[in-house]
């Protein structure tokens, strides 16, 4: 690619990035206008107050502790959910007996609100990180299983037949035909799981935690410190966004064929 083409590409991406930021800028503007109109920090702090609160948390070292604690719990839960959910979804989609055994169990347990399991997990697993990670796993595993399953089931039969005709073993079929086809669906499930992990983390950290963004929100709420509530929510949003983008770009890299084939 020539320098001119590189330059043109850079402008194009910058332009796209700006176009996608308009909505966020608009929301921030609206927030600031409303905050100034209300003029009540308790109800709606302005962006300045939230940034100040973030600065205070950073200066005191609490922000880094909270970020580390929350990220650790969310990512642990997410990775374990993925490590269990993907193979299970693959197995359910590929083998009728696995589907027969797990299908109804998953359908029955999926609607149970995982936030409602928090007291049980605390009773069984204690008030430490284990119960919090367990809650995240319990919620995040479902989109991974279901999306993986859909991806497997969506593999065109002719691809399977062709592979079988060419002498592919069951393992080769799974690894070289089904899994690659299911990969875009798996990534979609992972992105959903990541979002759910952050939502459940917040709820889990509201009971018997001493660090973490969810704890910080609860603590700030007790002291009617709304700017800190907003600051912590903003950090959750930023972290969730960052990890979601990471997964998105990973999926673009791993499933390039899929993105170019479709809209």
């Amino acid at each position: 690619m020539s320098t001119g083409e590189l330059g043109a590409n850079s402008w194009h991406w910058a332009g796209r990035a700006m176009a996608r930021s308009y909505s966020i800028v608009a929301v921030l503007l609206l927030w600031e206008i409303l905050a100034r109109a209300l003029d009540n920090v308790l109800f709606l702090p302005g962006i300045g107050a939230v940034v100040n609160a973030l600065g205070e948390l950073a200066r005191s070292g609490e922000l880094s502790t909270d970020l580390a604690s929350s990220s650790w719990r969310a990512l642990c839960g997410f990775f374990i959910a993925s490590a269990v959910g993907i193979p299970l979804g693959l197995a359910m989609g590929s083998f009728a007996r696995m589907d027969d055994f797990w299908g109804n169990l998953i359908s029955l347990s999926f609607p149970i609100p995982k936030i409602g399991l928090i007291p049980l997990f605390i009773l069984w697993l204690g008030i430490g990180d284990t119960s919090k990670i367990a809650v995240i796993i319990a919620g995040a595993i479902y989109p991974v299983i279901m999306n993986t399953y859909s991806g497997v089931k969506g593999t065109p039969r002719y691809l399977v037949w062709s592979a079988q005709t060419l002498g592919a073993s069951t393992l080769e079929l799974l690894y070289k035909v089904i899994l690659p086809h299911a990969l875009p669906f798996i990534f979609a499930g992972l992105r959903l799981a990541m979002g759910i992990a952050w939502i459940l983390l917040f709820a889990a950290e509201m009971v018997a935690a001493t660090s973490g963004l969810g704890f910080r929100i609860l603590y700030a709420q007790r002291l009617l410190d709304t700017p800190v509530v907003f600051a912590s929510l903003a950090m959750i949003a930023v972290l969730g966004f960052a990890f979601d983008r990471l997964l998105y770009y990973l999926s673009r890299y791993a499933c390039d064929w899929y993105f170019h084939r479709n809209v």
Binding site: L42, V207, T210, L223
Partner: protein, 332 residues
């Protein structure tokens, strides 16, 4: 399928908006007092009056709204959804610190026997407050009265509440469970739950210390466990109704002290906690429903020390407003 008529979508939108913005549950009727409370909180005379139907007639008739913790009462008052509620002095002071317009007008509970206590397992080896070093302690609410008196007790016994212990928030209903399963080493328990240690958990737990052991607090003739806060707006617009309510409340207080057995029976019925009847001294000293101001000032000092309050003065506004009670007591 035929297209829906053009007027349907805008009509549905308007109806949705009207439904969203009209809030019959939140609308206040006349001189009604929307009161935040919980039957298991230590608010004996409020509950006794509720059980006797004392607060049903206007003016100043009460509409009861249940909350899980006093913090939510403050939030509802700040949002204009409540006129009054039972809150801890600590939460009241935080509200004043944040500039919320409310005033404490009466005490709801003070000293009692037993008083709120900090429990440990009998087999834990913890004998004194110093033994709590390195332990995990459960309180129901950060910044609440259990939290600040715990910190005061620890501090005065040479234990740094910020560095030497871990204080976690555990709902009151789960405290004994958390203690029993060793998830916490000590837990703060309100008055109504203290007898459960003997009756339900037979000997598993013991009181390590209670409010009567806390330096600075134990010297006070009265403490403010829960107080009645009213929004400034309600006081300004419905002072006669508030006076009528407080007059009836004072009548219940006097009747309760004159008839303790009957009063505790009614309290037990209202709270559905039968053990209330077994409390040796459920009501403590009679201060004619007045808040102990020096105790409140001590709370300010403690909370400021532990970073819960930024201010120790709240401007020209008084900490409490006893003017209505004074009028009633003077026969006006």
């Amino acid at each position: 399928m035929s297209k829906p008529p053009g007027w349907l979508t805008p009509t549905l939108l308007v109806l949705t908006l009207v439904a969203c913005f009209s809030s019959p549950a939140g609308a206040q009727s006349g001189t009604e007092i929307r009161m935040g409370y919980n039957p298991v909180w230590s608010i004996p005379f409020l509950l006794i009056g509720k059980e006797r139907g004392t607060f049903e007639a206007p003016p100043g008739q009460v509409k009861w709204v249940t909350f899980v913790n006093p913090n939510q009462v403050i939030e509802a008052m700040a949002a204009g959804e409540l006129d009054a509620g039972g809150i801890t002095p600590a939460h009241y002071l935080i509200a004043l610190d944040k500039g919320l317009k409310m005033t404490a007008v009466a005490i709801l509970s003070g000293w009692s026997k037993p008083t709120a206590s900090y429990m440990v397992r009998t087999d834990s080896g913890i004998q004194t407050a110093q033994d709590l070093r390195g332990k995990i302690i459960g309180v129901n609410n950060y910044g609440g009265v259990f939290d600040i008196y715990l910190r005061q007790m620890l501090d005065k016994n040479g234990v740094d509440p910020k560095k030497d212990v871990k204080i976690v928030e555990v709902p009151i209903a789960n405290i004994y469970q958390a203690l029993s399963t060793k998830q916490i080493d000590a837990g703060a328990v309100p008055v109504l739950f203290v007898p459960l240690a003997e009756t339900k958990f037979k000997g598993q737990f013991k009181i390590l210390f209670d409010f009567a052991d806390v330096p600075g607090i134990r010297e006070r003739p009265q403490i403010n466990q829960l107080i009645l806060a009213v929004t400034d707006d309600y006081v300004k617009k419905h002072r006669p109704a508030l006076k009528a309510f407080l007059r009836r409340y004072l009548d219940v207080v006097r009747w309760g002290y004159a008839n303790p057995a009957e009063a505790t029976a009614l309290w037990a019925k209202a709270s559905k906690v039968d053990l209330v009847k077994a409390l040796p001294d459920p009501f403590g000293p009679n201060t004619d429903a007045k808040i102990d101001v020096p105790a409140l000032q001590l709370d300010i000092e403690i909370m400021h020390r532990y970073g819960y309050l930024k201010k120790i003065e709240f401007g020209a506004r008084p900490l409490v407003d006893h003017s209505i009670l004074d009028e009633i007591l003077a026969g006006r």
